[in-house]
């Protein structure tokens, strides 16, 4: 493994060529469709009840009250957010959600949000639901969980298809293997980032222009943070796919292995963690254990989570590069 032979111009050209033709290769088109459908469906599922509530409120009172809507979102979203962030177990979260369904309890929360609620003591949830646009926070939390599964549809075939079809042989006498490997990784990451930007921009514009319960500045700033979080989170998962793509000769096998690796680590951590507490640590084999911290109120946390993602990316990329550099092509 010799990183000195890497050529920045070649990496740039390969990345550009790869991202430009990613849609034409099929995998890019599939990912674009899946990511758009998933992202916009999540947004729809989160925003639609709020729009219905606003319509009901307008029908009953003749106008919409953004504060009341906001408070309802906080009340309903709090147990879910706490569960997703790992701050409460599923049982505790559903107990709290059931309590909120009692009419009196629900009314009192809407009137004075969190006034005497012990859950208010949790600053992370407060930050996501009260200090930042809660609808965007909810969408980000779901996207942070779901997008790693979707990204493998884009990243599984970075080199494996060209290994199988020997297409790389046209390139191997024109540039170093490392330039191909890192160039294609960057091209894939650029394509993924562009798709993420489209999704976040669409959702943010809709919230700003149609729902209009958050100030535009706060919405834009939080959208940018969420976009960066998602863009950085995709890197280690793309890098995992890079290893698999460089290691097997079949694109289909690469896709299956990517799905099994990304989903399997989380599933194994959850299932084995039910019996053995220490087994929950398996989730740190991938960024699963860190990724929600990208939305943490403390800069030290989200910066740390971002650095962790970059560290994972570096390690995975080096492992894949070592394999790609020495294998028969």
């Amino acid at each position: 493994m010799n990183l000195k032979t890497l050529n920045a111009r070649h990496i740039w050209l390969i990345s550009l060529h790869w991202s430009r033709h990613a849609v034409r290769s099929g995998a890019g088109l599939v990912y674009l469709m899946i990511a758009l459908v998933f992202g916009l469906s999540v947004a729809h599922a989160v925003i639609m009840p709020v729009e219905q509530l606003m319509a009901l409120q307008k029908e009953q009172t003749g106008h919409t009250d953004p504060d009341a809507i906001h408070n309802t979102i906080i009340t309903v979203g709090r147990p879910v957010a706490q569960f997703v962030l790992g701050l409460k177990s599923m049982a505790e979260a559903s107990e709290q959600a059931t309590a909120q369904e009692q009419p009196n309890a629900g009314d009192s929360r809407m009137a004075t949000p969190g006034a005497a609620d012990p859950a208010r003591l949790d600053p992370w949830t407060d930050f996501l639901l009260e200090d930042r646009p809660a609808l965007l926070s909810a969408i980000f939390l779901i996207l942070l969980f779901g997008m790693p599964f979707a990204i493998s549809f884009l990243a599984f075939n970075q080199v494996t298809g060209d290994i199988q079809g020997h297409g790389l042989r046209y390139l191997l006498l024109r540039t170093e293997r490392g330039n191909i490997y890192f160039g294609r990784f960057l091209g894939t990451a650029a394509f993924s980032t562009a798709v993420t930007a489209v999704i976040i921009a669409t959702i943010t514009l809709y919230l700003g222009l149609r729902v209009r319960i958050y100030p535009a500045g706060a919405l834009a700033a939080w959208a940018m943070h969420g976009f960066l979080a998602l863009a950085i989170l995709m890197l280690p998962y793309i890098a995992v796919c890079s290893i698999l793509s460089a290691s097997v000769d079949s694109p289909f096998l690469s896709l299956v292995l990517a799905k099994l690796t990304i989903g399997g680590v989380l599933l194994l951590a959850i299932l084995s963690g039910l019996k053995w507490e220490s087994m929950k640590l398996i989730k740190y084999a991938l960024p699963w254990g860190w990724q929600n911290h990208l939305l943490h109120p403390e800069p030290a946390h989200w910066l740390g989570a971002g650095l962790a993602c970059l560290l994972y990316t570096t390690v995975f990329l080096m492992l894949g590069y070592a394999r790609f550099e020495t294998r028969d092509l």
Binding site: R24, R169, L173
Partner: protein, 328 residues
Amino acid sequence: MTPAVSIKGLSKRFGHTQALNDVSFEVPSHSIFGLLGPNGAGKTTLFSLTANFLKADSGAVEVLGIDTRYISRLQGRLSILPQDAQFQRNVPILDQLVFFRRLAGRTKPQAQDEVLHTLDLVGLQSVARRRVGSLSHGMVKRLGVAQAFLGHPEVILLDEPTAGLDPANARQVRDLVRQLQERTTILVSSHNLGEIQELCDHVAILDHGRLVLAGSVDDITRSNRECNLSLSRPLQDVELQRLVAIRGVRSIERTSSPAGNLNHDARSAEYLVKLNLSAEEIDQDTVIAALLKAILDMGITPRRLTEGHSLESQFLEVTGRPPAPASG
């Protein structure tokens, strides 16, 4: 003079199959070097090792004096037409080749000019903006040849460049190869022995991963050169013995005329004349002249004299098998 390509003790195994076994030979600079062998002999493996697509189990390859393990040092100096390598199907031809030239440091306009010129050489300029997926097999093959010729490399490896091409396009590729010989060393693998004999000045024959013969075409065929001779009447035994006694003639055998040949004259007789020029150290023209003179002296009219497939005979002799049918 430093050889353009030097192969030293090269071995490669795939599982239980020994694809190459201790192969060594040298390719002289500015030669057209033919690599021959039956299917599975190891020709493509040898090319792939030379281009560093595959890692050798042992041995080394040097191209222009550079060990191909450091293949980046040969960027722009070595190119290859790989066998069965696929282009990106949904990307226009021009985009793919321009991308290759941009990796060599060209600006986009420079790259486009070079690519269009090269595509013109192989008759593909009119389809430059089409996607590879829409091209015929022959056109894709010519595209592969074009990418190998891009940028004036010093050494070009062509793995079956005319396979799948119609005769006119195969001829065009052969002509291109000849034109390049002045400034380029070219290694060609082919099943078409006639093509190799016509095109190459040096050959190596591989069989079961081993090198069985290497050298100049002239040297290799000297001991086994063949001519097809058509005479106005059959030779009598005495006449035959007189001809065989000519210096440089090894044997003369009567052959049957090709079935279904409507132009075949029933009174004429076909002979295969085998020459052995190595022992006598005389040139072919002298022997042929002596042979024809003797035939005319016998009152027989030579109706046709053509060069035979001397390389094919040699191939058969060293491999024990006929070559695969020529596809180009």
